[in-house]
């Protein structure tokens, strides 16, 4: 396929996407649920790609994403909640005078959230990145729980509002903003992955010792990957805070990290497009497609006894296990989406059936 064809196809695809988004935007009232799902998916996509940067591209198994999201979300919220409504947010214990008037414009506050997460990553990354695989996973998981415990503790009441959580967080003005912010974040990460840093990350993933022998500074590159991943996890947290408009420490439980991890796995470790695709698929199936399982089902006047609240999550977890067990490489494996791949796929579909028939004949 010629380069120009590819570019034309890509531009066309983006135009179609934009048109769909604008259409949804214009009919906000009729498509509220779709918009919510797309927003949530876009936010999860940012965090999933940031996690993939670590787990899929650098081969560092980290389970601390929720902790960094919490740092990002709280930093952002503390700086972005309008000063006028702060008194009512901190109604129980009052607000610390230092942060009482610290109000930043929203984009700056989001970046501050990311920077704070990156700062924490730099501090803890130095010691814990020396740990190997499972131990790193456990240490980061522990870190994320410590963050949560500190945020919720009464000693932090005047800053994080302790158990009461933060409210009145400024929302996203519209769907396009969410998509735009998510797209910028993901684009920066893609640029990074395609740079010399990205190649070094992949070398570390494939073989640490060989990479070191080739002159790649292990700790330096691991640090970089960890800090950048945490920065975008922090931004993702800030986006989640804007999406939810009220957060508390329980939002950032380990379950959140697991959710993101599952997205990364389903999309394919080491594939950005896979993570993005999976973020949309997983969120939509959890929130929309499987919802009918929770509702009582009546077929021909007979109600099916199994359909009651909770079945949706059971079905969802079974589907998930099927993916983990039988499609281990996820949707994309380590590949990225290409037009050739897509067309190749369509061409191969007939062959696929032919191949099957042949085998049966034998």
């Amino acid at each position: 396929m010629k380069k120009t064809t590819r570019i034309i196809l890509s531009i066309a695809a983006i135009a179609v996407l934009l048109a769909v988004l604008l259409f949804l935007q214009a009919n906000e009232r009729d498509y509220g649920m779709v918009i919510t799902i797309i927003e949530k998916s876009a936010i999860y996509a940012v965090v999933a790609v940031s996690m993939n940067l670590l787990n899929g591209f650098t081969g560092l198994f980290s389970l601390g994403q929720a902790g960094f999201m919490a740092i990002g979300a709280y930093t952002f919220s503390i700086l972005a909640i309008p000063a006028s409504s702060r008194a009512s947010v901190y109604y129980a214990t009052g607000i610390n005078p230092i942060i009482e008037h610290a109000e930043l414009p929203i984009p700056l506050a989001m970046i501050a959230g990311g920077l704070m997460a990156a700062l924490f990553a730099a501090v803890i990354g130095f010691p814990i990145l020396r740990l190997k695989s499972d131990y790193l996973a456990i240490a980061t998981l522990g870190f994320s729980e410590i963050v949560r415990a500190i945020i919720a503790s009464p000693q932090m009441n005047t800053i994080t509002n302790g158990s009461f959580g933060l409210k009145k967080i400024p929302e996203f003005p519209n769907l396009l903003t969410v998509i735009l912010v998510a797209a910028i974040c993901i684009a920066i990460m893609v640029l990074l992955i395609n740079s010399s840093y990205g190649r070094a990350f992949k070398a570390i993933r494939e073989d640490e010792i060989a990479a070191e022998a080739m002159g790649i500074g292990l700790l330096h590159h691991k640090q970089t990957a960890f800090i950048i991943s945490s920065f975008f996890a922090g931004i993702g947290g800030a986006m989640l805070a804007r999406f939810m408009r009220s957060i508390d420490s329980n939002t950032f439980k380990i379950a959140l990290t697991y959710d993101i991890l599952l997205i990364v796995v389903i999309g394919g470790m080491g594939s950005v497009t896979g993570s993005v695709l999976a973020a949309f698929l997983v969120t939509a199936s959890k929130e929309q497609w499987l919802r009918f399982f929770d509702e009582p089902l009546v077929i021909g006047g007979v109600s099916v006894p199994f359909f009651k609240t909770g079945l949706r999550m059971v079905v969802f977890s079974v589907l998930l296990m099927v993916v983990v067990l039988f499609f281990r490489r996820g949707i994309m494996g380590q590949n990225e989406f290409t037009w050739e791949g897509l067309f190749g796929l369509f061409k191969k579909i007939p062959n696929l059936f032919k191949g099957k028939k042949k085998k049966e004949a034998i």
């Binding site: 799902i37 109604y91 129980a92 158990s163 959580g165 939509a284 929130e287 696929l352």
Partner: protein, 399 residues
């Protein structure tokens, strides 16, 4: 390779069906409203009422009981007259899983279903999270048992039929003083705004006439309270105030008694629940709590509710004890219906206007709303547990 292609194929199909599916649901939503206006001439018509409750997760148990009350109310009064037109009321139940992240999408689900009003939720945190969404969509919501002040504050679209935590905390502090307690210990759940909020209000009130000797917190999901309780025991309080969820309450009660703590154990509205007696058994004897409703304190209409609802519970294979939250769910539903009737319209913002001036005789007392959208309730029922049953002690008022 084949697997990958298959996976890609499946996902492509899913992606296409997502747009189609979502478009479809959006379409059906809008058609329902279109039907709403056209069917005024047509015949039988449906209006949707959202039930926003946790049915799974930490508060799933209490949430389900509230849903029971709402379902029963819907069964009793399944139609509403607007003008001369008879509308059938359909409940749209969504599960917010006691989780704020889920609550946001669950709320959006209700908005996209074009509900005329929302009832719920059990648990203040999820109500606060969803409140902004209902406000934006201009859909009125009636909270049943979310007692945190933040639910209705600054939100014209959130109402509630129960009393508030500052009131409840003061009531319990006054009652503790009345039964001769001078030293109190407070035990709350970290990260839970209901529990910590109520605990704070109790402390603030109790400080005026007594001493807070211990103020402890525990982690969500904690099951071991012996260490915390040993600490409390060593301070020798007269009363332990421990507002917490149904899942936690029996653990606290049992472990306290096992450690030989004889102090009174008190809590808020969540504890008025048969499950706690079932779980804590004989140890539950003597606990005190404040609640919204008493079976003996009702009028004729209330008595009809009690017998009817008990039969309903039996039909569904549940215990024939009426949890206060079910009664509140029943009242919230009827309040919403009264407002719809009064508004004479299926427009949610008209219903919201009507709610402001509505006045309903509910089974938990008379319901009318103040400027904040809170029910004007100045009375709490204090109950205790005696012989494995909740027993009404007295009513408490605060000036």
């Amino acid at each position: 390779m084949k697997k990958r292609i298959l996976a890609l194929g499946v996902s492509a199909v899913l992606a296409v069906s997502m747009l189609a599916g979502c478009g479809g649901s959006g379409g059906s939503g809008s058609s329902a409203v279109a039907g709403g206006s056209s069917a005024a001439a047509g015949g039988s018509d449906v209006i949707k009422v959202g039930v926003f409750e946790p049915q799974t997760g930490e508060n799933g148990g209490g949430g389900l009981q509230e849903v029971d009350g709402i379902r029963y109310a819907n069964k009793q009064k399944s139609t509403v007259k607007i003008g001369d037109k008879e509308y059938k009321i359909e409940l749209v139940e969504v599960d917010n899983k006691s989780d704020k992240t889920e609550a946001v999408t669950a709320a959006q689900k209700l908005v996209s279903e074009k509900v005329i009003g929302v009832i719920g939720s059990y648990g203040s945190g999820v109500s606060i999270a969803a409140g902004e969404y209902f406000k934006d969509a201009k859909i009125p919501a009636i909270g049943c048992s979310c007692t945190n002040p933040q639910v209705t504050e600054g939100n014209d679209y959130y109402f509630r039929v129960c009393f508030l935590d500052p009131f409840q905390g003061t009531v319990m502090a006054n009652y503790a003083k009345k039964v001769g307690c001078t030293k109190a210990a407070v035990l709350t759940q970290k990260g839970d705004d209901y529990s910590v909020g109520l605990g704070t209000f109790f402390k603030n009130a109790f400080k005026n006439f007594g001493e807070i000797v211990a103020d402890e917190q525990f982690e969500t999901g904690a099951q071991d309270f012996k260490a915390v309780l040993t600490n409390i025991k060593s301070k020798n309080p007269d009363v332990i105030f421990a507002p917490s969820s149904i899942a936690t309450a029996p653990l606290i009660i049992k472990q306290a008694r096992e450690l030989g703590i004889t102090a009174k154990i008190m809590a808020g509205d969540t504890w008025e629940n048969g499950e706690i007696i079932k779980n804590a058994g004989e140890h539950a004897e003597g606990i005190c709590l404040s609640t919204f409703f008493d079976e003996d304190g009702v009028d004729e209409a209330g008595k009809a509710f009690i017998t009817g609802f008990k039969a309903y519970l039996k039909e569904n294979g549940k215990d024939e004890v009426i949890p206060a939250v079910s009664a509140l769910g029943y009242d919230a539903y009827n309040t919403l219906i009264a407002a719809i009737e009064k508004a004479g319209s299926t427009d949610p913002s008209k219903v919201q206007e009507a709610l402001k001036g509505v006045s309903v005789k509910g089974v938990t007392g008379d319901i009318s709303f103040d400027d904040n959208g809170d029910a004007k309730k100045d009375m709490a029922f204090i109950k205790t547990v005696e012989n494995g049953k909740f027993k009404f002690l007295e009513t408490q008022k605060v000036q």
